[in-house]
Symmetry: C2
Subunit: 292 residues, 2 copies
């Protein structure tokens, strides 16, 4: 079985109320990335953030962050398109990535493609109320066709993300159309807590994806748990040949004493070794994903 690809999801839009170790600034993200690399990660996924933690959509900040990461370690870099740019045009959502790809100093390795659309209102199971009622995360087929073409033209590897089986089928259609190269780097989204848009973070929620993976299409699949603890499924994922994408962006891990991203990742590296897989270095991840 191939070595485990650990993607560090260092911050998303997480605040520091429950865990002060979430990196926000370019410098913090770079320092965190280097520590995650030491702990076993081969990819860092980040969202640019303002000084107060608010989302930052400044292309310059993205570029500065990637340059700093490149300065301190050899992690592969996977920036977000920015969840708060939903109202933007498809060109606007991707432009910072395409711009950064032109310069080796700021060049990312991956770009995400969420392969469908869904309601994404938060639901509070304690009060039994929706927090919002009109939030949708929309990625039209036309938008996805544009992303696939441009991400390939820029020489980056798309991370095709599924939030449910409908997204998985759209990803497989794109592969059949020749728009996603072998192997598909496929993110399987589980969600816990207030977000119901992914599969539940249970064995059944994961199995619902796995039993629907095609046998004839090369897929390298990785699992997120947005809003919950991914360790609960780590043995199952790693034993089944999957990979993990994990970090304080998804969950503060207060139940583990609010660790740093690197401390968290070292736990997954330990489990990979226990299963005889070991962790993939960035160069090995490139090979597994057949990246240039």
């Amino acid at each position: 079985m191939e070595k485990l690809i650990i993607e560090a999801r260092v911050n998303e839009y997480a605040m520091r109320k429950h865990n002060p170790n979430v990196p926000w600034s370019s410098e913090e993200i770079a320092r965190d990335a280097a520590a995650c690399r030491e702990a076993g990660a081969s990819i860092v996924h980040f969202h640019a953030r303002q000084e107060n933690g608010a989302p930052c959509h400044d292309a310059g900040r993205y570029a500065e962050t990637i340059a700093r990461v490149h300065d301190v370690c050899d992690l592969l870099v996977h920036p977000t398109l920015g969840a708060n740019t939903l109202a933007a045009s498809k060109e606007g959502r991707l432009s910072h990535v395409l711009e950064m790809a032109k310069d080796k100093r700021t060049r990312p390795d991956f770009a995400p493609m969420d392969m469908g659309s869904t309601n994404i209102d938060a639901y509070d199971p304690v009060t039994r109320r929706y927090v919002t009622g009109d939030q949708m995360y929309l990625n039209s087929t036309d938008t996805l066709l544009y992303f696939a073409k441009e991400i390939r033209a820029a020489g980056l590897k798309p991370c095709a993300v599924a939030w449910n089986i409908t997204y998985l089928r759209q990803a497989l259609a794109f592969h059949e159309m020749g728009l996603l190269d072998d192997p598909i780097y496929l993110g399987l989204t589980l969600t816990e807590g207030k977000v119901l848009a992914g599969h539940p973070a249970t064995a059944a929620g994961l199995d619902a994806y796995l039993i629907n993976l095609p046998k004839t299409v090369p897929v390298v699949w990785t699992v997120y748990n947005y809003g919950g603890n991914l360790l609960n499924l780590a043995d199952k994922i790693i034993a089944a040949g999957g990979h993990v994408a994990v970090g304080l962006g998804d969950h503060p891990y207060t139940e583990l004493g609010a660790p740093t991203n690197a401390q968290l990742i070292s736990k997954f590296a330990d489990i990979a070794r226990k299963h005889g897989r070991g962790v993939a270095a960035p160069g090995e991840t490139r090979q597994i994903l057949r990246m240039n």
Copy 2:
């Protein structure tokens, strides 16, 4: 195991190219409904259609059709909200149903609630091209909250429809909020052919739903196969205690010689008897679903 609820999905927006037996006019739908009742159906789901088969959004036509169905048989009636009214307001989408519910002659028994949003572009696997690129089927949480409240106030039973696990989770949240009564009448959507928005019409596509059904929530689940032959999964569904929603609206069944809806339904009734379940009459379906 309870008797099998067969819902006849008599026409949707199917044309007659592959099967001339699709009913369009109110009279045709009523005549077809009566034959489906004889064959074992207890619910009829229909879309109003114009003389040439085009979608009809005339509230009067819906009312006329239900009145005619009531005249000729005791089938429970489940009208659509109209797939082509997507651009309409939430009030506009439901108004014909609420209006009809006021008069016993035109009163429906069910109204559908598709519990989420998705891309719904058709994909042609032969040419490997999307037929459209901007089609989304949107049901915001606010819209669904409105539907749940109004459908209950009108005394109708909602059919909560899942196109994937995300929809299933939203349906379960609505149940937890007390907005869906026990048991949930839950439609599990499989799609075949050009529509990729549901789960694949395979054992794995169905199992992905079934392993995620909650053990503590009363659910009466039924299965559609939009775009394909539901008979392939009939034994599995019926043995597992599920119900079926099937008809020429979903698939022309040319592989069976282009049968009528009633002829098709009789095949499912035969399978129900083979499994020792028998078919539920309309009154028995009311009891199973605890309808007034």
